[in-house]
């Protein structure tokens, strides 16, 4: 048995290495992969890392766009949470009574959630902008749909993993399905739901920063403008703002998770 396992693992390693080698063949290595001035540009960008532009108006602009990024992320995430709660509960199938209707409901709503998260948020943003113009709602919806899909799927899994016994006890006292949901399922998964949402919130801030790429403002937009002007020092200022924003949210969510685990 052990030798077989070892064999299997070796086989897997070789297979993965071959796959990687195959992917490297996709690049045309002969013609040179860098621009002729590539190395000097890389040096300039790297040097600018230590000398970010700290003039007042750039700092103000960076702070303003950080707020824009955060606001879009928060608004999108709050919408995603609502979507995820509705779809997640439906996709977990705890509300349906018969076995057949449960499989039907699980299958169909999981499919919907899968579709929502399969398409990247930036593609959603592009579709929204193309169909109804540059509006903050395009950014918010574009964030809310894929994040709703991810959260909803995880919520559904969490609800399905709730131990049977307390629910059976509730059922035995005559609770309806809705009462089971509110007094049995939701209280037992509440904490893990909150910590997963916090974890995703950090990702949402990052996504919201690149949302600007389609022209919706925010940190990513400023980064792009500065890059186009070859102002690498300004680029790094905005990047540092983004990093600080992400680190703060990461630290906050870590603290929150640790407190809730107690």
């Amino acid at each position: 048995m052990l030798s077989f396992d070892l064999h299997k693992r070796k086989f897997l390693t070789v297979f993965l290495l071959l796959l990687f080698a195959w992917s490297l063949m996709g690049v045309n290595w002969q013609e040179g992969v860098m621009h002729s001035s590539g190395i000097s540009t890389a040096g300039e960008i790297f040097a600018a890392m230590f000398t970010p532009d700290l003039s007042m108006d750039i700092l103000l602009l960076a702070a303003e766009s950080s707020w824009l990024t955060l606001a879009y992320a928060t608004a999108g995430m709050s919408l995603a949470l609502i979507l995820a709660l509705i779809f997640g509960i439906l996709a977990s199938g705890v509300l349906s009574s018969g076995k057949r209707s449960r499989t039907l409901m699980k299958g169909s709503f999981r499919g919907v959630l899968g579709f929502m998260r399969a398409i990247h948020e930036l593609v959603w943003a592009w579709l929204f902008v193309a169909s109804f113009g540059l509006s903050p709602y395009a950014a918010i919806f574009a964030l809310a749909i894929p994040y709703g899909g991810i959260l909803g799927r995880i919520f559904a899994d969490m609800i399905n993993d709730v131990p049977e016994e307390p629910i059976k006890a509730l059922r035995a006292t005559g609770a309806s399905r809705l009462q089971c949901l509110f007094y049995g399922y939701l209280p037992s998964v509440k904490n893990s739901m909150i910590s997963y949402t916090m974890y995703r919130y950090e990702c949402a801030v990052r996504s919201s920063a690149i949302m600007s790429f389609v022209g919706l403002g925010g940190l990513g937009y400023q980064i792009q403008l500065s890059l186009d002007d070859l102002h690498y020092d300004e680029v790094w200022t905005f990047l540092y703002f983004l990093i600080i924003l992400v680190v703060i949210i990461d630290g906050w969510s870590n603290m929150l998770r640790r407190r809730m685990a107690q």
Binding site: G26, V27, G38
Partner: protein, 278 residues
């Protein structure tokens, strides 16, 4: 008896309410975004035109019914797949090179039973680089990398790898921190050197977990390949952007179909392989 909530939790709760309220106020009040305007007649017209375009209603050349465009799209799909594999390969290599000193129990010497003054310094340096790489989204990395490399799938793969090695490194360092240190300390006290400890103690216990994370990240990378293509880093994304700017709507539909197929395959593989690794 009711458990007292810690003040931090209460504070966080209200802070979040405030944050949500102020961001919605900002969007609705200051940015003057109105939902009713969104669903105005004009926008409805645009939207129907756009979706009709996507479905190819009333157009002569419909890309997703054309054999040549399918074969072109297939070539791009393979390219995208190569890009994603290359990206996860690069980030895995960098992760393996840095992950051991980045674990807290290696830095403080409890795992290897040896202490060096520089360990904490290396630990801090690597962790900061992880945070750096993680906090900057792949699209921004791609915008920077495209300045250095020629357009193609290589800059895309590098940009994706730059973002993902931080995430992989953090996840995998945590795996090492959580391993049972007793067998490894046993090896160390039996006189194994660093390489031997690594080969016989650390890797066998953590590799299955690493592989799960790598596959999980690969699935995420697959989804993001389209995005780095937008800035000229090759694959489906680049073509997607081109068709978007030329208003070749039916081509967009075709590319979206290919993209969805790739994502679903990646999803399926990573789901199944989790059982395989176990």
């Amino acid at each position: 008896m009711k458990k007292r909530r810690s003040p931090f939790l209460t504070f966080s709760f209200y802070a979040f309410l405030l944050l949500i309220a102020s961001s919605w106020y900002f969007v609705i009040g200051i940015k003057n975004a109105s939902l009713t305007e969104l669903f105005s007649k004009e926008n409805l017209e645009y939207a129907t035109k756009f979706f009709k375009g996507l479905l190819g209603v009333g157009q002569e050349e419909i890309a997703f019914l054309n054999r040549d465009s399918w074969s072109d799209a297939f070539k791009l799909t393979v390219e995208t797949l190569q890009m994603s594999i290359m990206a996860i390969g690069f980030s895995t290599i960098v992760m393996f090179l840095t992950v051991i000193p980045a674990a807290r129990n290696v830095a403080d010497g409890t795992l290897t039973l040896s202490r060096r003054w520089y360990r904490w310094f290396v630990f801090g340096l690597i962790r900061v680089s992880y945070i750096f790489s993680r906090a900057i989204p792949e699209l921004v990395w791609a915008m920077i990398v495209i300045f250095i490399f020629k357009p193609g799938i290589l800059p895309g793969a590098i940009a994706l790898a730059l973002h993902n090695f931080g995430i992989l490194g953090k996840l995998c360092a945590e795996v090492i921190e959580d391993t049972d240190s007793r067998p490894i300390r046993n090896l160390a006290s039996a006189g194994a050197n660093r390489a031997q400890i690594l080969m016989y103690g650390v890797f066998p216990t953590v590799l299955p977990q690493f592989l799960t994370y790598i596959l999980y990240r690969w699935e995420v990378i697959m989804r993001t390949t389209i995005v780095v293509g937008f800035v000229g880093a090759g694959g489906l994304g680049q073509e997607f952007k081109l068709s978007m700017s030329f208003f070749h709507y039916t081509e967009i539909t075709l590319l979206l179909i290919c993209y969805l197929i790739l994502v679903i395959i990646a999803d399926y593989i990573s789901e199944k392989s989790r059982f395989f690794v176990k």
